[in-house]
Amino acid sequence: MAHRVDHEYDYLFKIVLIGDSGVGKSNILSRFTRNEFSLDSKSTIGVEFATKTLQIEAKTVKAQIWDTAGQERYRAITSAYYRGAVGALLVYDITKKQTFDNVQRWLRELRDHADSNIVIMMAGNKSDLTHLRAVSENDGQEFAEKEGLSFLETSALESHNVEKAFQTVLTEIYHIINKKALAAQEAARNSGPPGQGTTIHVVDSSDAGSSKSSCCSS
């Protein structure tokens, strides 16, 4: 993803929204970025896109979210959009067991195409449909723990936990970047003069805001 200098924000993070078709990805996105929800939204063809700027620990972070088509056959295309993503929101539908079973497959997809450090949040969407629930919150939680993912149940319809899900992912990414910046500083201090084959980007913590970093990978 392109690094760029822009005064509107300190950081730009690319997030991908993935999961089976019909789980509510596009509605999660429209709820988060425009506070809108549509009962009969059309299926996503290829990829769509929206941004939202928010504050994370006093820094302005612009989230650039890529909403992808969920149908299996579109994966040949959507995986191309994983490039440069530092976060993923992996969505399933709590009323459809199969969409939860497929989470494993989506994780594989991420491992194959995305950066290995990508921060993943699993979201069990449509939590408002309690009477139709087919996946218990506990099962979701257990699976997430096993796979090392963050987890929340969300409802785009009721606007429940959507903001929080993104906020969590973005904060985690921010922390990783900060940690990397510190580690890089540390490494710079200990490694003596440069020229040993590794390039180290030094970011002074007091100046972190001007780094416009957009990626947590090294």
Binding site: A2, R4, G24, D40, V47, R73, A76
Partner: protein
């Protein structure tokens, strides 16, 4: 540029009401359409094409005109011959539909499948969400019902094709913008379910309902609508064809890339620098023929302009023979070129043999051209590019876009013919590398035998 989006139109009782931007004297009117048939029923296609290319088709006759444009019927046939053919096709449709009904009871029942009904290993799923009530995100009409559990014995001998078919039934897009009637919804669902059974190589693919829903609205008889959609799919099905790691539309995107490279090298370079050299941002435009970029009524207008400009008088014969259109052989000597659409005529005259070249590619080129300055100045990342191009909904004028596309096509052909043999060899070699790459992955043959 924004005129079209302000145009008023209406759909009343499921019927499309003529938008008032259609210009009398340019649009193909009902009267002119009727008077273009001889007593026996032969259609003066050149006369009709002339009109459509200038101003589209009046909404009262869109359905029947589209049937000709898409090659369902031969202009050189009589009323009687067409009636017979229609009857034959209706029976054929009923036959396939019954077969589908045997496999899934909801086909033809007025109800539709909204949740997965089968697992990948063929086990039926009895859905807890079956009654659908209050689910909000699922159900809009009380006709919808997925509560009938499948007979468990049925599943034992389900073969792969049936499982594959059943797996996608719930994915059929139900949102029919502009006309919400459960009856239309069920018709759309039936037609798509049956189509995905007869074209099992492709099955149901999201986007198909974007292509099918206008036809359901325009053609009342379900079987007729089905065949009209089936003919439309013949033009675009190659785009939907998938292998494990590629999708057919890639061939079109590759051509688009080489077209822009020739027409606007500076923009092409900019796009490549933004990491957009694969032209994936045009994916949706090519897949659903700009249905999402234009308003509903404008999309219909755009489509008939495209099909009239791409019209080839041999379409019917080619489709009946189950062959693919081939620009190398379909023009017989001394044939009246006016029976071809403007675009197709240019291809024939110039000897352009590329079967992938179509109006859609040049329409994307015309959109890029219109946005050229903004893209060069403001697009600083692939995200800006996607944002600018996804945000053009309602801004576009179908006729202007088509005329611009035709101009760009001519320009492209001229530049191509001026390009030295060396350059052409270079372009050719990129294509060969591309084909080889896919062939190495075991997809080459399939990918390129689509059309």
């Amino acid at each position: 540029m924004c005129m079209r989006s302000q145009v008023t139109y209406a759909i009343v009782d499921g019927h499309l009401i003529q938008p008032d931007y259609m210009e009398p004297g340019k649009t193909l009117s009902e009267r002119r359409w009727q008077s273009s048939f001889s007593e026996e029923g032969y259609l003066d296609i050149a006369r009709v094409l002339r009109r459509i290319q200038r101003g589209g088709v009046h909404s009262n006759i869109k359905g029947e005109v589209w049937e000709f444009l898409l090659g369902c019927y031969d202009p050189k046939s009589t009323f009687n011959e067409r009636t017979q053919l229609r009857e034959k096709r209706r029976l054929e449709y009923e036959k396939v539909k019954s077969k589908c009904q045997e496999m899934e009871k909801r086909v033809g029942s007025g109800r539709i499948v909204v949740a997965p009904i089968i697992t990948e290993d063929g086990q039926p799923i009895v859905n807890p969400s079956s009654n659908g009530a209050n689910s909000g995100e699922e159900v809009k009409s009380n006709e919808v019902d997925s509560s009938i559990p499948e007979n468990r014995n049925d599943s034992i001998n389900l073969d792969k094709e049936v499982i594959q078919w059943k797996l996608t039934l719930h994915q059929i897009d139900r949102s029919l913008l502009y006309y919400e009637s459960s009856e239309n919804q069920a018709r759309l669902w039936d037609v798509l379910a049956v189509y995905s059974w007869i074209d099992r190589d492709i099955g149901y693919c999201q986007g198909m309902s974007d292509l099918c829903s206008p036809i359901i609205l325009l053609i009342e008889n379900e079987a007729d609508a089905f065949w009209c959609f089936e003919r439309l799919m013949r033009r675009v099905r190659g785009n939907f064809k998938c292998t494990s790691n590629t999708i057919g539309v890639w061939a079109q995107l590759t051509l688009l890339s080489s077209v822009i490279k020739i027409l606007d090298p500076k923009l092409h370079e900019h796009i490549v620098n933004l990491d957009g050299g694969e032209y994936l941002f045009a994916f949706r435009m090519l897949m659903v023929l700009f249905r999402r970029e234009f308003s509903f009524v404008d999309a219909l207008y755009l489509w008939e302009l495209i099909w009239s400009m791409e019209y080839n008088p041999h379409l019917f014969t080619i489709y009946e023979a189950n062959a693919s259109p081939n620009r190398n052989q379909d023009k017989s000597q001394n044939e009246d070129l006016m029976k071809y659409g403007k675009f197709e005529r240019k291809c024939l005259k110039s000897g352009q043999k590329d079967q992938q070249a179509n109006m859609s590619i040049f329409l994307v080129a015309s959109i890029l051209k219109a946005k050229n300055k903004r893209l060069l100045l403001e697009a600083k990342g692939l995200d800006d590019l996607v944002k600018m191009l996804n945000g053009i909904t309602g801004e576009l004028d179908a006729k202007k876009a088509c005329n611009e596309a035709l101009k760009l096509h001519v320009k492209y052909l001229n530049k191509l013919s001026k390009t030295s043999d060396l350059d052409r060899t270079l372009d050719y070699s990129t294509l060969v590398i591309y084909i080889k790459k896919h062939r190495d992955e075991g997809n080459g043959e399939k990918l390129f035998s689509i059309r």
